[in-house]
Symmetry: C2
């Protein structure tokens, strides 16, 4: 399809480029052009041979086009446990509520349940998810069938999956289809033996590939690793060579100066999950310290059982708000920095380097934000509006790979939401024995 | 108008009453009936003389009807400064950005600018606002003209308004129209002389009326009062007799055990403003301690310059989330408690005792929540859904006093949003000199 979006405000997210009034053209899965009206005219004049016939011309009526948000950590199929295990201490939440339910979930269940999250991502302007769950092939199928971009890592640990499976996922999911890719990783230090991690390090070196895991989410996780190995999880992983080709960690709430030195040295990304860390009382991540060290930060919602909302607007507010509270400084972490985390940094940590900016040649993973909602008025500063007063209700359109998957409240993922919900209800009844 | 809402899930907010499937009938500005289908049939049989002809019958399709949210602290006209004064320390925010702009605002400006907030309240299912701003009469006009319920207090201080005006507001705004009422109050201890507060105490005793103010929002405000009077603001206000007939405070972030004893003894409400306290780095209010003392808590967004979002869903998540973080306990402050704060407690602290429950005889201040959005699926626990994954985007309808003011994204407040935004742009240009 060839789309011409005109009469738009455009935020490309390129460094130093302010929001401008102009046009964005999409051809197939890529951005063909983004620029001012004047630049559009100049382009047409200088490329008379390229004159395009549009399948659709969309008057944006002054609304904002920008790159989609990248949800840099989630477990999509955990919709099953949303609102069924809240207001509980973390250990009870995991051991008494989550693990027993997960033991009953099939690959097919996970396929169906992931779709509810995909619908929610679309409503929040999210165009890619960095996913980790039990059955990577059925997860990849769900994302492919919905036309939603997914980068997965595994949750290999002592009790499920294996390093052999990890390599299989890596080899088979990369390049399998246009929506899926796979990055090496494990669940976490506290669920993996040293032997398992050493085998992972061999894979990391074999493929010269980055490595990811849940890292230092809670204080006790960090302390227990110190007790076991005399090192923090970051130090321990690094000592095994797991970070020799970069990568990063999810959560990273409890890190020391020494941890951050390693992160900086290895070029690691910190994916922060403030909604989940808040609801599970895990703590507030040292975002200010990461930025001061030059460690890039991206943002994830975590799964719907621990957040429970898959909403990048809530997460963006929390990233800066919690940093302000932690440092007792209202000037801490400017809105523009947060917006970069939710878009550019998210894309790069997931290896989606073509989904960072809204410029020629990049993937057409783009959203339209309604500026005529009262929470955006009057228009004083759009970047601050997005981070401080923006909401899911401002998302008018979510496009992935040049296909509009969500527009004006309607979904286009090949299946009606009510069908997806009905299947989830059946799974719920079977698993919970209701 | 006579509305019959059927095929609904109904949450009346009465203690001990679970959500049921049933009907709600609205006649004029009141709830005529709420109950199960069976109770509706029984009612019809036993009241054959009362059989109603409906103006409209609305199939709720399983969506949820519940009392509207009560925004228990705001400054609506501060939309003007939204996103124009962010990421600044509190003192710079107030003295360099807010006060100089406020000095240029007319009563007419405040009338127009308040309407943007009223639109936003409607999108978030808010049906009443506890308002404080510079020109109470023009604020009251804005709320009346939009058909939105407003309870005001004054922001009397050493520099604007006066105790004489306070009494005038109290006498003239109470009973003036069906949407407005007025409660005695001042801006804050740190902006009011002892003499001014003593005169207020005379009014409190003359009218045997509750008293409100911003109280102990920041640590420095509390310390400075200790330096001035050897007492915290709560102790000081109480020593002047200002709380002899109850009332409460906004923010109340920095309170001691002794403050809470006074609050409990005087029957004060604590209105918490977690979004604002987060963004301005004021701190985390001791909500757990308030509940343990039996002090009722209500929730306010604060104004759009300090939050910047007027969204009760964000506030509800923050109330429990920040309490969980502060106490490092994921089981702290159950979702049901938060929902009560946002509805029942809000209504009562504002003196809107007829707007607490969705039951016969109560005001028809009611909202409809979309259960078919993906963030509500699968439906495991609706109360937890509302607090943890709910969003503005779930608000299908907002009714105030039996009139539908917002439905399916359309407003009904006597003026089109775009007209309101255009007026705000003009005011902005004049005041900021753009």
């Amino acid at each position: 399809m060839r789309y011409r979006f005109f009469n738009a405000r455009v935020l490309t997210m390129e460094p130093g480029r302010d929001i401008f009034n102009g046009e964005v053209w999409v051809v197939s899965d890529r951005i063909k052009f983004s620029g001012t009206e004047e630049e559009a005219s100049t382009y047409c004049e200088s490329h008379p041979d390229e004159m395009l016939v549009w399948d659709e011309e969309i008057d944006c009526k002054g609304n904002l086009l920008m790159p989609g948000f990248k949800n840099a950590h989630t477990h999509s199929a955990m919709t099953l446990m949303r609102s069924s295990a809240d207001d509980l201490p973390l250990s009870d939440w995991l051991n008494k509520q989550i693990f027993p339910i997960e033991a009953k979930m099939t690959a097919e269940d996970i396929y169906e349940l992931s779709k509810i999250s995909i619908l929610e991502y679309l409503t929040s302007g999210i165009t890619a998810a960095f996913e980790m769950y039990l059955t990577p092939f059925s997860v990849a199928d769900a994302f492919r069938d919905c036309g939603f971009r997914c980068v997965q890592t595994s949750c290999v640990n002592n009790f499920s999956q294996s390093v052999e499976l990890l390599e299989k996922y890596y080899k088979e999911l990369n390049g399998r289809d246009e929506f899926n890719s796979f990055i090496l990783g494990v669940h976490a230090e506290y669920t993996c033996s040293k032997e398992l991690l050493e085998k992972c390090a061999e894979l990391v070196h074999k493929y010269k590939a980055p490595f990811w895991a849940h890292i230092q989410e809670t204080e006790s996780e960090t302390k227990e690793c110190m007790d076991r190995y005399g090192m923090t999880p970051i130090e321990f992983f690094d000592s095994l060579g797991l970070f020799d080709y970069g990568g990063g960690g999810y959560h990273l709430v409890w890190t020391s100066d020494k941890d951050r030195e390693i992160m900086k040295k290895r070029g690691l990304y910190a994916v922060t999950n403030p909604g989940s860390n808040t609801k599970l009382a895990s703590g507030i991540a040292p975002i200010k310290e990461y930025l001061e060290c030059g460690i890039p930060v991206a943002i994830g919602t975590d799964g719907p059982a621990s957040n429970n909302c898959l909403d990048m607007f809530r997460e963006m507010f929390l990233v800066t708000g919690l940093a302000k509270l932690k440092n007792m400084d209202a000037s801490c972490i400017d809105a523009a920095e947060v917006l970069k985390m939710a878009t550019v940094n998210g894309a790069r940590c997931m290896g989606l380097n073509d989904a960072d900016y809204l410029t020629e040649g990049k993937l057409a993973d783009m959203i339209m934000i309604d500026m005529s909602q009262p929470n955006m008025q009057p228009i004083n500063n759009i970047v601050k509006n997005l981070v401080y007063s923006g909401s899911k209700s401002n998302v008018l359109m979510t496009m992935i790979g040049g296909v509009i998957r969500y527009q004006n409240g309607k979904f286009n993922i090949g299946e009606e939401p009510l069908e997806i919900y009905e299947k989830a209800e059946k799974i719920k009844k079977r698993i919970y024995g209701l």
